[in-house]
């Protein structure tokens, strides 16, 4: 038995994280490919600072959507909650002049939006796909009505709150540190906390978990609520970073975020997945976006390629294994 030797441990690690290792390999492979296609762009520091400034906006919702999908549900409404968070922040700041008040009320709005999804899904047993398509349009519609479909300038990037959330540390965008910190916390909670364990049980074997006293409804409501709060947070970060609120804020993130989670090895059937995988998934989607543009191919290809990868990933997950 070489289970205790270094090589044995390494083998065990690779076996346990084979999906994560596979996508990490794909990520490095893609990076090399894009590097070879356009070495000038990929040796340029600005490519990387741009990457680090936009990838966090994907990573943050990705973390919490991972919880929801592992718990056996889905949320299509988070892009609208990103928009809602951004809009509430903008509106409250406009009314009161206080970005702090805007931030807090935006997070509360996100919390309520998430709670609403969670309660309806668990208490009324509504299929989450249909419900959250409904809330997706509902919140987007509410933004459109109240903002009259118009954007707003939000020049707060140079203020303290702007510096804290989307400023620069040297050349590194601060938002990447927020994303990394949240990834570490959510990862530890998923693998080492009672709540994380119950998230897995909820998606894997809800019947067993219920029999043994796990409150699945509560687990799912918390997962939805966290996704709501942090989607709204992402909305605030986006408004600060762009110095602008657009009524369509967040719309592009539906495919990007869901595909990051799926590519990262989280099972579409629930019960399996990891934060590490999802983060690598997001990095991979990010490098695809950057790489496709940098290699001079039309940006129209981005959606096609990402969609194709998602289909392939889902097909792989669904092939019955012995």
């Amino acid at each position: 038995m070489d289970g205790s030797s270094f090589l044995g441990k390494l083998k065990g690690f690779f076996k346990k994280y084979q999906i994560e290792m596979f996508i990490l390999g794909t990520f490095l492979g893609l990076w090399t490919l894009f590097f070879l296609i356009n070495p000038r762009a990929f040796t340029n520091i600005y490519t990387y600072t741009a990457y680090m400034s936009h990838v966090p906006f994907m990573i943050i919702p990705v973390l919490f959507l991972t919880y929801v999908i592992i718990a056996g549900e889905i949320d299509m409404s988070f892009p609208s909650v990103i928009g809602l968070g951004g809009w509430v922040f903008t509106a409250i700041w406009g009314l009161t002049g206080s970005p702090i008040a805007g931030l807090i009320i935006a997070l509360v709005a996100g919390l309520l939006a998430g709670l609403f999804n969670g309660i309806l899904v668990t208490k009324l047993h509504i299929p989450s796909l249909m419900l959250t398509i409904g809330t997706m349009y509902m919140w987007r519609g509410a933004i459109m009505i109240t903002s009259e479909g118009l954007g707003r300038a939000v020049p707060l990037k140079r203020t303290t709150i702007g510096q804290i959330f989307v400023g620069r540390l040297g050349r590194v965008p601060v938002q990447i540190f927020w994303a990394v910190a949240l990834a570490v916390v959510t990862g530890i909670i998923l693998s080492r906390h009672k709540f994380g364990t119950h998230v897995y049980f909820s998606g894997d074997s809800p019947e067993a978990a219920k029999m043994l006293g796990v409150n699945i409804s509560r687990v799912k409501i918390i997962a939805y609520t966290l996704l709501g709060v942090f989607s709204a947070f992402t909305g605030v970060l986006l408004v600060l970073d762009l110095s602008t609120f657009w009524p369509s804020l967040g719309e592009g993130y539906l495919l990007l975020v869901i595909s990051s989670v799926i590519i990262g090895g989280t099972s579409i059937y629930g019960g399996a997945g990891s934060i590490f995988g999802s983060v690598i998934g997001a990095l991979l989607i990010g490098i695809l976006q950057t790489g496709i543009l940098a290699s001079g191919i039309s940006g129209f290809f981005t959606d096609f390629v990402i969609g194709l990868i998602v289909v392939v990933a889902i097909v792989f997950q669904s092939i019955p294994r012995k």
């Binding site: 346990k16 009672k194 897995y200 074997s205 006293g213 099972s267 019960g271 399996a272």
Partner: protein, 253 residues
């Protein structure tokens, strides 16, 4: 030590009706401490309803339930578990994609004051149970092994280990040997014997008379919601039990 012949569980005249359909009528059943009671009966005899009444899933319409000599009203599944009643379900009470160490502690994790798992403790206890009581032979099976890679019998072993760790007094095994191969059945029967050795009581429910006969101290036959026969194992041969069962089923049809 608890004295022998001490009634751990007692059902007195328990009846259960669903919309006019009588599922249990006047059931009297007692299970003594450190006793294995085998419960046999045809489909629809009321075995599953009886289990659900015992575990607090269904409240009885009539009758009384005594646990450790105390009359229990409004039994709920949580209460039943607190009072030391554990159920081993065929396959359903395990999470297949999770490791054994998480499954054993499902719903009752060992956590610190912030709710973080005591992973080492859970793994050590799992290892101790696997090597001790369960005698999982394969070296390849560790606490980290995912339950989906275990055999049907071993999956029930995980549930037996759970019952042992949480110090259940009565372990109810609901059709534990159905759909298992012969070697797997042997494993499950072995688990039941280890439960007895650890001083537990068992209610072993099965269609299969020879499985029940090989481990039970006492055998109870149910038919159409009532207990119709009751034997101590030493008073009846397997053959006679089989004939008795056939007579009961025939009389019912």
């Amino acid at each position: 030590m608890t004295p022998k012949n001490w009634n751990l569980i007692e059902l007195k005249n328990v009846s259960k009706e669903f919309d006019g359909v009588i599922a249990l009528k006047g059931v009297n059943l007692s299970i003594r401490s450190n006793e294995i009671v085998g419960l046999v009966g045809d489909n629809g005899a009321g075995k599953t309803t009886l289990v659900k009444v015992l575990t607090g899933v269904y409240p009885p319409n009539k009758g009384e339930i005594y646990i450790k000599g105390k009359k229990i009203d409004n039994l709920t599944p949580q209460k039943a578990r607190k009072l030391g009643i554990e159920v081993v379900h065929q396959q359903r009470a395990v999470a297949l994609l999770q490791p054994i160490w998480k499954n054993i502690f499902m719903g009752r994790e060992v956590v610190n004051f912030l709710g973080f798992l005591n992973v080492n403790k859970q793994k050590e206890e799992t290892e101790r149970l696997m090597k001790g009581v369960l005698r999982f032979r394969s070296e390849a099976v560790t606490p980290d092994t995912l339950v989906k890679t275990l055999s049907g019998g071993e999956r029930q072993g995980v549930q037996v280990a759970r019952a042992l760790y949480f110090d259940a007094d009565l372990v109810i095994l609901d059709e534990p040997t159905t759909a298992l191969s012969i070697t797997e059945v042997d494993k499950v029967l072995d688990y039941v014997r280890s439960l007895k050795k650890e001083g537990k009581s068992c209610l072993f429910i099965s269609h299969n008379i020879s499985h029940v006969y090989s481990i039970a101290d006492r055998i109870v036959i149910m038919d159409r919601g009532a207990i119709v026969e009751e034997f101590r194992k030493k008073d009846i041969s397997e053959r006679a039990l089989f004939d008795q069962m056939k007579t009961v089923v025939k009389a019912g049809s």
